[in-house]
């Protein structure tokens, strides 16, 4: 923060009090600006010093938990991961994520997103339930197989992609980029055998068919995930599946345990336990 940086910042916050407000309204707050200040820091300052009734979700403060997704200066972002210095404007306009109902102030109702997510079975589906419940080892996976889905596994379910998607905005049936991207993440996992079960949902109206590749989901993702790519890859898989050209795979089995492991002689012994 150099000498020319303003000492104060204007927050324009979208407020909605259920039972009191019929429609959301804007409220302005002027607060001191500090070096390294994030959008979330500013909201905390407002809550602590000006209006304790201001509501939002947040938790980890380091871009990991995905709780604090909100619309900041017209773009869906994580409030904790957005520095005021990167916004450029002297005004910070904060609103709840679009395409969701508002519970209160900056708190969107994410339940429909997680319902769609759950409907697409975002977990490994295998027949060897016994092995999953009482594992005898690790399911085998090569680094190349990991690359098939790795970037999609970075999703933190913040909902920013859903807020940016023009199809989610108009089609209440469409599952949206997060659930579809996560369905592809598991379909592309060599340890998974659940494609046929997920296809029951994906091949219908809730599948990827309404996506017309605006690509906004990938543009706004704070974790650099590319859900638009996942959706196109999923469409391709489903087309191959329909014309019987999809390469089916059996879920990988348990990797054999290494048998010849010797301790390197140059590694010293660990110190004795103190507790």
């Amino acid at each position: 923060m150099n000498d020319s940086t303003p000492k104060e910042v204007l927050y324009r916050v979208r407020r909605f009090e259920p039972g009191q407000d019929r429609v959301p309204r804007w409220q302005d707050f002027t607060i001191p600006r500090t070096p390294g200040m994030t959008v979330l820091d500013g909201l905390w300052t407002i809550k602590q010093a000006l209006d304790p009734s201001l509501s939002w979700r947040s938790s980890c403060r380091m871009g990991v938990c995905g709780s604090c997704g909100m619309l900041v200066n017209g773009r869906a972002r994580l409030a904790c991961n957005t520095q005021l210095s990167e916004l450029g404007s002297g005004v910070v306009a904060v609103a709840p994520l679009p395409n969701f109902d508002i519970i209160r102030d900056l708190v969107p109702d994410l339940a429909p997103m997680f319902d769609s997510h759950a409907a697409l079975m975002p977990y490994l589906i295998r027949e060897d339930v016994g092995e999953q419940e009482k594992p005898t080892g690790e399911f085998a996976q090569s680094p190349e197989e990991l690359e098939h889905y790795l970037q999609f596994s970075y999703c933190i379910k913040c909902g920013c992609c859903m807020a940016a998607c023009p199809t989610v905005a108009t089609d209440p049936v469409y599952s949206g980029p997060m659930p579809l991207g996560q369905a592809h993440r598991y379909n592309a996992d060599g340890r998974d055998g659940g494609f046929a079960r997920r296809r029951e949902v994906l091949s219908g109206e809730r599948g990827p068919w309404r996506c017309h590749f605006a690509g906004e989901c990938s543009r706004v993702c704070p974790k650099g995930v590319d859900p638009a790519k996942a959706i196109q890859l999923m469409k391709r898989e489903l087309v191959w599946d329909y014309i019987r050209l999809r390469k089916a795979h059996r879920p990988t089995g348990v990797a054999p345990k290494p048998t010849e492991i010797r301790r390197r002689p140059d590694i010293p012994e660990a110190p004795a336990r103190t507790i």
């Binding site: 199809t167 108009t170 089609d171 209440p172 296809r199 029951e200 949902v201 994906l202 091949s203 219908g204 109206e205 599948g207 068919w209 309404r210 017309h212 469409k235 489903l238 087309v239 599946d241 329909y242 014309i243």
Partner: protein, 127 residues
């Protein structure tokens, strides 16, 4: 439940058919000066000269490809229109009505176009 997966796959397939047949059309009609399709333009001159059009019209290959192109274009286009209309969030009843209307329109245009192709084939054969 496979309805959308099936329709999308046919949409893609129809797109490929359109690409191939329009490529064929462009090649025959616009690259003749370079490729010299004497079998398709036996009278010489331009591909759209009357004699060349009649000769091509007498070959069964052309009415067949016209009908194929017509079917592919109608399905591809009307499925796209259906998608656009469905993005306006109609009710499920209206969705069914729109689908039925587009099927009727598509089949009607397909029958009309097929009859036209067959009529032009019969006319060319009679000349």
């Amino acid at each position: 439940m496979m309805r959308d997966q099936k329709l999308w796959t046919w949409h893609m397939g129809a797109g490929v058919v359109i690409l191939v047949l329009l490529g064929l059309h462009m090649t025959i009609m616009h690259l003749d000066a370079i490729l010299k399709f004497t079998a398709l333009n036996p009278a010489g001159g331009e591909p759209i000269d009357w004699q060349n059009v009649v000769k091509r019209g007498q070959m069964i290959f052309f009415p067949l490809t016209y009908v194929l192109l017509l079917g592919a274009a109608l399905f591809h286009g009307l499925y796209g229109v259906r998608n656009i209309l469905f993005e306006l969030s109609p009710s499920s009843g209206l969705k069914r009505a729109l689908s039925a209307l587009l099927i009727v329109v598509g089949l009607g245009l397909f029958v009309l176009g097929t009859l036209s192709a067959l009529a032009s084939f019969a006319l060319a054969r009679s000349l």
